[in-house]
C-alpha cells in the first residue's frame, strides 16, 4: 500500500489510527482528513489504494466519500472505521462500495489483524449484515422488481451467506463446504461487490424515475 486516506474527526483517534496504519503499512503515504469536504477534495486530487473512513463526521457522512471513491477510483479499497456496530449504519456504507468495516474500540492487535486481512482480500461479515444482504437480494429478485441489470447471487454465495447468518465463522464454513479459506474470502468479496453493483443500478434507476436524468 502506497497511498492511504484517513478520514477521522477526533484528533486523538486519528493519530492513534495513523500510528496503527503506519505499523501495518510502513512505507505508505498517509493523507489525514477531519471532514468530508476535505476528503472529497483529496479524492479528486490524487489516487488512493486504501481509505479508512469514519461514518459520523461534523459535516456529513463518510458514505459520501465511499461513493466518490467507488466512482472515481474503483480500485481503491474503502474500509469503514466506526463506533457504530449496527447494520442501520453499516449497510448503506457497504452498499456504497465499502469492503468491510472495523469497530474502533477493538484492541490494537485485533484491528491490525482485521486491517491486514481486508487488505489481503478477506473482508469481515457479521451475521446481521449477512441477513440484510440476503433480504436485499431476495427483494431484488421478486418478479416485479423493475428492469434492473440482473445481479443475483450464485448458489455458493447464497450458501455462504446463509451459514454466516446462522453464526458460523468463515473458517468453519470453509471446513463445512470443503473449501479453502481463500475461496470463502473470495465469495465474501464477491458478495460485497455484487451488493455495490446492484445498489448502484438501483440508485441510478431511482434517480431516473425521479427525473434527475431528464436532461
Amino acid at each position: 500500500m502506497k497511498t492511504i486516506l484517513l478520514l477521522e474527526d477526533l484528533p486523538e483517534i486519528r493519530s492513534w489510527l495513523k500510528s496503527l496504519v503506519t505499523q501495518v503499512f510502513p512505507n505508505a503515504q498517509i493523507v489525514e482528513c477531519a471532514r468530508v469536504h476535505d476528503a472529497l477534495a483529496q479524492v479528486t486530487a490524487q489516487k488512493f489504494e486504501l481509505a479508512l473512513v469514519d461514518l459520523g463526521l461534523p459535516d456529513g457522512s463518510g458514505v459520501d466519500v465511499v461513493t466518490a471513491l467507488r466512482e472515481s477510483q474503483p480500485e481503491a479499497l474503502s474500509v469503514i472505521v466506526t463506533i457504530h456496530d449496527d447494520d442501520e449504519h453499516l449497510f448503506p456504507a457497504l452498499q456504497a462500495g465499502a469492503y468491510g468495516y472495523i469497530l474502533k474500540e477493538q484492541s490494537r492487535e485485533l484491528i491490525t489483524e482485521q486491517l491486514q486481512r481486508i487488505s489481503q482480500g478477506e473482508p469481515p461479515l457479521s451475521p446481521s449484515i449477512a441477513r440484510k444482504v440476503i433480504a436485499y437480494f431476495a427483494a431484488q429478485n421478486k418478479p416485479q422488481a423493475n428492469a434492473l441489470p440482473h445481479v443475483s447471487l450464485t448458489e455458493r454465495e447464497s450458501e455462504v451467506l446463509l451459514r454466516v447468518a446462522k453464526g458460523f465463522t468463515l473458517p468453519e464454513i470453509g471446513v463445512q463446504l470443503g473449501l479453502s479459506r481463500h475461496t470463502i474470502a473470495d465469495y465474501v468479496k464477491q458478495i460485497y461487490r455484487k451488493l455495490n453493483v446492484s445498489s448502484r443500478a438501483e440508485a441510478a434507476l431511482e434517480a431516473q424515475r425521479l427525473g434527475l436524468f431528464r436532461r
Binding site: 477526533l10 483517534i13 459520523g56 463506533i83 456496530d85 451475521p127 454466516v164 446462522k166 465463522t169
Partner: protein
C-alpha cells in the same frame, strides 16, 4: 189508489219466503205510488206557455216605445244578429191569452233562462220584476236564470201584454260572446212547474261555480303558499296562481254587481287571461323540470302588452282584440302542454297519464265551448264542460299536496338518516384522531430515542473511545472498552425492535465461537435448528442475554484456563435456557461462601433477575463451571 190495490192482495197466507217476497214487492210498489202521487199532485192544471217570438225594438225608454221600427224576432234573440249597432237596451213585447189561469188560483211564474245583462219585466203595464240595475254600471246577470213569481190575478183571459226591457251590451264591447246582449226563450206557467227548471239551472250556472270558486281559491292559496316557501318547487307557486286565476275567471258566472262600469269589468276579465296563461305555461315548464330565460321574461312582458293593446284598440273593438289574444294565449298553453307531455312520456310515465287526462279535459271543454258558440247545444252539456276543468285542477292540486306531504316525509327520513351518518362519521373521525394521536406519540418517542442514541454515540462514545486508545493503563482502557460496549447495548435496548430468536442465536454463536477460537479454546455450540424457533425476543431481553453471555465467555477466556467450552440453548416448558459449561478450574469461593465478585457473577444474576429469570452458577475447584441462564419464555420469548 195504487196503494189500496196492493193491500187488497187475496193471498196473505203464503209460505214465509213468498210472504217476504211479496212484502218486498209491495213496499216497492208503495214507494212508486207515493212518488207518482206527488207528481200527479204537482202537475200544473194550466199548461205552460213558451214564447219563441216577440216584438222587439231597440230603445232606452221607460215604457215600451210606440215606434214603427218594432219588428218581430225569434227567441232566443241575439243582438249581434238582430241589432248589430251600438245598442244599450231593447224592448220585447209578447201578447198572449191565458184562459183559466186567473181562475185556477195558482201562483204563476215567468222563467227567463237568459236575459243579458239585466232585465225589467212589466205585465199588462204593471212592473213585476227588475233583475238588477239597468243603467251603468249595469248588473251582470247574463248567466243567472230569472224566475218571476206573480199572482194569477194579474192575468187577463185575453190579450195579455208582457213587456221586457233588456239592458245589455253589443258583442263588440264585451270580451266574450257569452256576455253579448240577448234574450232567451221566455216561459210562462204555474210557479210549481217552472221552479225545478230554475233551480237546476241556478245550481249549474251560479251555485256550483260559487262553490268551485271558493274551493279553487282555498286550494290555490295553499299550493301557492307551499311553492312560495319552498322555492325549489316553484311550479307549486305557479300552479297555485293558476288555480286562483281560474277561480277569478269562474267568478264571472255569479258576480253580478260591480262598482265600476261594465267596460272595465270586461277589460279586467280579458287581461286575466294573460295572467292565467302566464301561470299555466310557467307551471308546465317548471313541472317538467325546465326553465327558459326568454319565457321567464316573455310572459310578464305579454301580461303588460295585452292590456296596452286592448286599450289602444278601444272598447269598440274589445271583442275582436280579445278573441285574437285568446287564440294566441290558447296556442301558447297548447304548445307548452304538448312540450310537457312529450317530456313526461319520456321521463315520468306515471305523471304523464294524469296530466294527459287533465289536458284532454281542457281540450274537450274548449271544444264544447267553441261548438256551443256556433251551434245550439243543450245548456247542461255546456255547463258540465265549463265545470270540468276546475274539477280536474282541484284533483291535480290535491295530488300535489299529497306529493308534497310525501316529499316532506321522505325529507324527514333523509334527515334522520343523514343525522345517523354524521354521527357515525363523527365517531369514525374521533377514532381516527385517537389513532393518529397514538401514532404521533409513538413517532415522537421513537425520534427522541434516536436523538438520545445519536448523542450517546457522538459524545459519550467519542470520549470513551479516546480513553480506550490513549490510556496507558491497560485496566482503564479495558474498562472504557467495556463501558463502550455497554453503551452500545443500552442504545440498542433503547431503540431496538424485537429480535427473532433465530437471529439472536446466530449473532451469539458468531461472537462466542470467534472469541473462543481466537483465545484457543475449543468451542461447541448446540442450538435448535431454524424450523423449531418461531419466537422473538424483546430488544431488552436480547441485550441482557448478550451481556450475560459475553461476561461468561470473558470469564472462561480470562480466568478458567479451560480448553473446551460447550454452549447449549434449549426451549422447553415455556422457558428459554442457555447453559455455558467449561472444563476449567472453576471459580474460587470467597470467605462468606459466595462466588467471586470479580468474575461478574453478581451482575449476571442481577440482569437475569431483571428479566424475571435466574442465573445459576455451579462451580467447584477442578470441576469446571456450569452457568445456567433460564428466562420465562412467555414474557421474553413471545411467539412470532
Amino acid at each position: 189508489m195504487l196503494h189500496n190495490r196492493c193491500t187488497a192482495n187475496p193471498n196473505p197466507c203464503r209460505p214465509l219466503v213468498n210472504r217476504a217476497r211479496w212484502l218486498c214487492l209491495r213496499m216497492t210498489v208503495w214507494l212508486l205510488a207515493v212518488a207518482s202521487a206527488g207528481l200527479v199532485h204537482g202537475a200544473p192544471t194550466t199548461p205552460s206557455l213558451r214564447f219563441t217570438q216577440a216584438l222587439a225594438v231597440a230603445a232606452d225608454t221607460e215604457w215600451f216605445p210606440d215606434l214603427p221600427r218594432a219588428r218581430s224576432v225569434q227567441l232566443p234573440d241575439d243582438w249581434a244578429v238582430t241589432h248589430p249597432g251600438d245598442v244599450s237596451a231593447v224592448w220585447y213585447r209578447v201578447s198572449f191569452d191565458a184562459d183559466g189561469a186567473r181562475d185556477s188560483g195558482e201562483l204563476m211564474a215567468l222563467y227567463i233562462e237568459r236575459a243579458c245583462s239585466s232585465v225589467q219585466v212589466l205585465l199588462n203595464g204593471k212592473l213585476i220584476h227588475v233583475s238588477g240595475r239597468l243603467t251603468e254600471p249595469v248588473s251582470r246577470n247574463c248567466q243567472r236564470p230569472q224566475l218571476i213569481a206573480f199572482s194569477g190575478a194579474l192575468l187577463e183571459p185575453r190579450n195579455n201584454q208582457l213587456d221586457l226591457k233588456v239592458a245589455g251590451f253589443p258583442v263588440h264591447r264585451v270580451a266574450s260572446h257569452q256576455r253579448a246582449g240577448g234574450l232567451s226563450v221566455v216561459e210562462l206557467g204555474p210557479h210549481s212547474a217552472l221552479v225545478a227548471k230554475h233551480r237546476w239551472r241556478t245550481a249549474f250556472a251560479v251555485n256550483l261555480p260559487q262553490v268551485i270558486t271558493g274551493s279553487l281559491v282555498l286550494v290555490g292559496s295553499l299550493i301557492f303558499a307551499m311553492g312560495w316557501v319552498n322555492r325549489a318547487q316553484s311550479f307549486l307557486a305557479y300552479y297555485g296562481a293558476l288555480l286562483i286565476g281560474w277561480a277569478l275567471v269562474l267568478s264571472r258566472q255569479w258576480v253580478s254587481d260591480m262598482p265600476w262600469p261594465n267596460a272595465s269589468s270586461e277589460f279586467l276579465l280579458a287581461i286575466l287571461a294573460s295572467f292565467v296563461t302566464f301561470a299555466a305555461v310557467q307551471f308546465l315548464m317548471r313541472y317538467g323540470g325546465e326553465r327558459r330565460r326568454w319565457i321567464d321574461i316573455g310572459l310578464p312582458v305579454q301580461c303588460a302588452v295585452m292590456p296596452l293593446s286592448l286599450m289602444v284598440a278601444g272598447p269598440q273593438r274589445l271583442h275582436a282584440m280579445a278573441t285574437f289574444w285568446y287564440l294566441v294565449l290558447a296556442l301558447q298553453i297548447a304548445v307548452a302542454a304538448v312540450h310537457y307531455l312529450r317530456k313526461a312520456w319520456l321521463l315520468r310515465r306515471q305523471q304523464f297519464w294524469l296530466m294527459a287526462a287533465l289536458g284532454g279535459a281542457m281540450a274537450l271543454a274548449a271544444a264544447l265551448e267553441f261548438i256551443a258558440q256556433q251551434f245550439a247545444l243543450d245548456q247542461r252539456v255546456v255547463d258540465a264542460a265549463q265545470l270540468l276543468p276546475p274539477l280536474m285542477f282541484m284533483g291535480l292540486g290535491l295530488r300535489m299536496v299529497q306529493q308534497y306531504g310525501r316529499a316532506l316525509h321522505d325529507a324527514q327520513q333523509d334527515r334522520l338518516e343523514l343525522e345517523r351518518r354524521v354521527q357515525d362519521a363523527a365517531v369514525q373521525i374521533e377514532r381516527n384522531f385517537a389513532q393518529l394521536a397514538d401514532m404521533k406519540v409513538e413517532q415522537v418517542t421513537e425520534r427522541e430515542r434516536k436523538r438520545i442514541a445519536a448523542d450517546l454515540h457522538d459524545d459519550l462514545g467519542a470520549k470513551l473511545l479516546t480513553i480506550v486508545h490513549t490510556s496507558d493503563n491497560e485496566r482503564i482502557s479495558t474498562l472504557a472498552r467495556e463501558a463502550l460496549e455497554e453503551m452500545r447495548l443500552s442504545v440498542r435496548g433503547l431503540t431496538g425492535k424485537p429480535v427473532p430468536l433465530l437471529n439472536a442465536l446466530g449473532d451469539w454463536r458468531a461472537e462466542v465461537m470467534s472469541r473462543l477460537s481466537q483465545a484457543g479454546v475449543d468451542g461447541h455450540w448446540q442450538a435448535p435448528t431454524e424450523e423449531d424457533v418461531p419466537q422473538v425476543l424483546s430488544a431488552r431481553a436480547y441485550v441482557q442475554t448478550t451481556r450475560i453471555l459475553r461476561e461468561a465467555v470473558s470469564n472462561i477466556i480470562k480466568h478458567s484456563g479451560a480448553s473446551r467450552c460447550t454452549v447449549r440453548c434449549t426451549i422447553a416448558k415455556g422457558d428459554f435456557q442457555l447453559i455455558v459449561q467449561d472444563n476449567g478450574k472453576g471459580i474460587p469461593m470467597e470467605l462468606d461462601g459466595r462466588l467471586d465478585r470479580g468474575h461478574g457473577m453478581a451482575s449476571m444474576k442481577h440482569r437475569a433477575k431483571q428479566l424475571q429469570g435466574q442465573c445459576l452458577v455451579e462451580s467447584g475447584p477442578g470441576y469446571g463451571t456450569v452457568i445456567r441462564l433460564t428466562l420465562p419464555i412467555d414474557r421474553h420469548v413471545a411467539p412470532a
